[in-house]
Symmetry: C2
Subunit: 382 residues, 2 copies
DNA sequence: GAAAGCTGAGAAACCGTTTTACCTAGGGTG
DNA sequence: CACCCTAGGTAAAACGGTTTCTCAGCTTTC
C-alpha cells in the first residue's frame, strides 16, 4: 500500500492517449470533444486515482477554494457552533477553512490576515464573541469579500447576526403561554447591544412597566437577583434570564428558598448552552440562537460573493439567523430529550457589498499583460 | 486607499533593475550577489509592498506552509485549547491551519483528508475528545507526516497525550499536603483509559485500599456519590474528582448537607474548566492538563517532521504534556485569581515515525522529468 | 466545386514563483 | 599569454494545472 508518486494530469493524458489540454477539458466538463473521448479520459483518471493539485489549479484559476475564518473568541462558546455551520456549508463545495484565532491582538490579527491574503483565500469571514464589538483588524478594502458573522462590521458590510428581539419575544411568549403574568427579565450588563434589544422586546411583550434587572453574566448574579426579588413584595412568577448561567443561578437560588420550579415559578434561559442548561435541575427551558444555521448562511454567503466577485457584480443579500426556543420545558426527568427546533428565518437587513474589481476584469486590466510578459520572458526565436 | 493590483516579483525586479531570478534570490537570502544588490532589491520590495504569492511558491517548493487539523470534537472542550496552542506555535512560522471538524463520520473524514491532501498540506494533526479513542479515518500511508494529539493513533505513530498519572499524583499529594488522610476518588466510567490511569496513580499515592467510585461525568453523579459516602460510617475528609463537573456536584451536595468546604473536607477537581471551576462556590482547586502546551508541542512536532521529511530522514521524538495543579485552593473569595502553572515536562514515549519517500528524493526520482517535459512542451527553436 | 461553417483536438501561453544551468568579466597562476 | 577560477548575474525550465488560439478535416451551402 506504499503511496505511489502523485498522479498528474500528464499521466492521465498519456494513458488516455490525448493531450494535456484535452484531458483538462474532459475532466472539467469544458471545451468540445466527443463524448467517447470525455468518458475515456474520465475513466482513466478515475482508474489512476488522479486528484488535481489544488495549488496549481488555484494559480491559474485565481480561486483557491479556501476561505479564512477570523475569530476573537478562542474559547469558543459562540464561535464554535458558527464554525460548525460554516464548515458544513463549505465542505461539499470543496472549500477548506483556515481558522485564525486572534485574541484581541491587532498585530496578531494583521499577521493572520496577511497570511490569508498571501494564501489567496477567496474570502474572509469574521466572527467574534460579541455581536456589538469589532475585531481589532481592518478588513476594509481587501481584495476579497468579507462577511461579518456574530460580530460588528462597518456600516456598509455584509453582516449576519442572531435575532435577539425575536428570541426575547419567544421567551416572553413562552412564559405568557404558561399563564405567567408577573414577569421579570434578569440579564447582563446594559452595555451589551444584545441586552438592550432583548430587554426592549421583553417589555414589548410583557408590558412596558415589566422589571428588568441588569448584572453580570454569572450564576452569582442569578442568586443575587433572586435575593433582591424575593426581598420585595411583588414577587414574579416568570423569570426570563439573559443567559443560561444566570438562569442556573436563579433556579438554584429558588430551590434553596424552597420555591418550586416550574410549579410556582417558570424560568427561561438564553443560549441553550448544553453544559449549563442540561446540568440545571430541572433542565432549563432556553432560547437557542441557532448559531449553526447562522454559520451555514455565512458560508453560503461568502461563497456567493467569491463567485460573484469573479463573474458578475455581486449584490449581496443579508439574512439574519433566527432564534428558536427549546421546548423541553422544565421536565422532571433529568434525561429529557432536548431537541433544537428551527423556527423562523427572518430577513433583517439589506445592506450591500461593494464589489471590488471583479475577477473577470482583473485579468484584462492588469497593466497590459502582453507587454509585461514580453520583457521577462522572451520566448524562442528573435 | 483603493487596493492596487497585487505586486509580483516581476515588478520588484523591474524597479530594482535586476532579473527575476536575482530578485528571488535576494529576497530569500540565497544565491550569490553583492550585498548592495541584495539590499536594493529588499528595499524595493518593501517599498512596493511586495508579498509573494503563496500558491506559486508552494508549487515550486513542494511546501505549502499549511497544515491540517482534524478533530472529532466539534464542541471543543479539549480540542479548543489544543488548537490554540497549535496556532500559537505555527503562526510565527507563517504556517496556517485548516480546521476540519469531522463528527464521527468516516465518509466526512475521508473527504476532508482528501481535500487537505489536494491542497498539499505539509502535515496533519489529529485530535479528539478522548485520549483512548481513534478518529474514524485511516491516516496511515499518507504522503505527509501525521501527529496524534489527545487522541489515539497506531502503535508506531507520533502521539502526544496528557499525563493523567502525573495529574492524579499532584491532586492526591495536594490533599495529603493539607493534612487530609481519608481520601476518596470520585471519577468517571471505568472504560476510559484516563480514568484507569488516574485511579492507579491515586491509589499509589493515597494507599492501595483507598476508595474509588465510578459513575457518569456529571454533576448528578457528584451529588449521588456524596449521598453514598455520607451514608456509610467512614466519611472522607479529602475528595479527588475525575472532572470539574463531578467536583461541582460534590461541593454543592456537601454544602447542602452543611459540610464546610474546605474547612472540613477538601475537594480537588480535574480539567480546570473555567466555566465550571470558577462558578463553583468556593472556587475549585483543580488540575490543569495544560492542553495548550500540548498543542504547542504538536505544532512544533509536525513542523519538524514536515521539514525533516524533506531534507533528511525524520526521527521524531515524542513528548507528553504534563499536568499541572491549580493552586487556588478553595478560597473564600469568589474572585480569587486562578493562575495556571506549568509544572513539569516529562518525556513519555520514544516512538518513531517512518519517513515516507523524502521530498528531496522525489524530485530526482520522478520518472525522468526531462523526457517528460519534452513531449508536452516543445520550446522555441528545434 | 469552391467558399463558408462547424467539430474535435492539440500547441502554446499563462498563473507567479524557485532553481538550475549557463554566461561574462575580472583576477590570479604558472 | 593561455588557463582556470570565482563572483555576480541572467535566461529558461520547472512546478501542475487551465485557457486561448490555431488548425485540419469534414459538412453544408449556393
Amino acid at each position: 500500500m506504499a503511496k505511489a508518486e502523485r498522479i498528474r494530469i500528464y499521466d492521465v493524458a498519456r494513458v488516455a492517449g490525448v493531450s494535456v489540454a484535452t484531458a483538462s477539458k474532459a475532466l472539467n466538463d469544458t471545451g468540445r470533444m466527443t463524448e467517447a473521448t470525455r468518458t475515456r479520459v474520465k475513466q482513466t483518471a478515475a482508474a489512476l486515482g488522479f486528484r488535481p493539485n489544488a495549488m496549481a489549479r488555484a494559480l491559474t484559476r485565481q480561486r483557491s477554494f479556501t476561505i479564512g475564518l477570523l475569530t476573537n473568541d478562542t474559547y469558543g462558546r459562540f464561535t464554535l457552533p458558527v464554525m460548525a455551520g460554516i464548515n458544513e456549508a463549505l465542505v461539499d463545495q470543496g472549500v477548506s477553512v483556515f481558522l485564525c484565532g486572534i485574541e484581541d491582538d491587532a498585530a496578531l490579527g494583521k499577521i493572520h490576515v496577511d497570511a490569508m491574503l498571501d494564501k489567496q483565500v477567496d474570502g474572509i469571514i469574521a466572527t467574534g464573541k460579541r455581536i456589538d464589538r469589532r475585531l481589532p483588524v481592518d478588513l476594509s478594502n481587501l481584495p476579497v469579500p468579507v462577511v461579518y458573522a456574530f460580530t460588528e462590521g462597518p456600516a456598509d458590510a455584509v453582516t449576519l447576526v442572531s435575532d435577539d428581539r425575536q428570541g426575547a419575544r419567544e421567551a416572553t411568549e413562552h412564559l405568557l403561554a404558561h399563564g405567567r403574568r408577573r414577569l421579570v427579565h434578569v440579564t447582563g450588563p446594559d452595555s451589551f447591544a444584545s441586552v438592550q434589544n432583548r430587554a426592549e422586546a421583553f417589555r414589548a411583550s410583557a408590558g412596558q412597566d415589566a422589571m428588568v434587572l441588569h448584572g453580570a453574566w454569572s450564576e452569582a448574579w442569578g442568586h443575587e437577583a433572586v435575593a433582591k426579588l424575593w426581598a420585595q413584595p411583588n414577587r414574579p412568577d416568570g423569570i426570563f434570564c439573559g443567559n443560561d448561567q444566570i438562569a442556573r443561578g436563579v433556579v438554584d437560588a429558588l430551590r434553596e428558598r424552597g420555591v418550586d420550579v416550574p410549579a410556582e415559578v417558570s424560568v427561561v434561559g438564553f443560549d441553550n448552552w448544553e453544559i449549563v442548561s442540561a446540568a440545571t435541575r430541572p433542565p432549563l427551558t432556553t432560547i437557542d440562537m441557532n448559531l449553526k444555521e447562522l454559520g451555514r448562511e455565512a458560508g453560503r454567503l461568502i461563497l456567493d460573493l467569491a463567485e460573484g466577485s469573479r463573474s458578475s457584480r455581486a449584490s449581496a443579500r443579508c439574512h439574519a439567523s433566527s432564534c428558536c426556543a427549546n421546548p423541553a420545558e422544565a421536565t422532571a426527568s433529568r434525561t429529557a430529550p432536548k431537541k433544537r427546533c428551527f423556527r423562523r428565518f427572518r430577513e433583517c437587513c439589506h445592506r450591500h457589498w461593494r464589489a471590488h474589481g471583479s475577477g473577470g476584469k482583473r485579468r484584462l486590466e492588469r497593466g497590459n499583460p502582453t507587454r509585461h510578459r514580453t520583457r521577462p520572458r522572451p520566448q524562442g526565436r528573435i
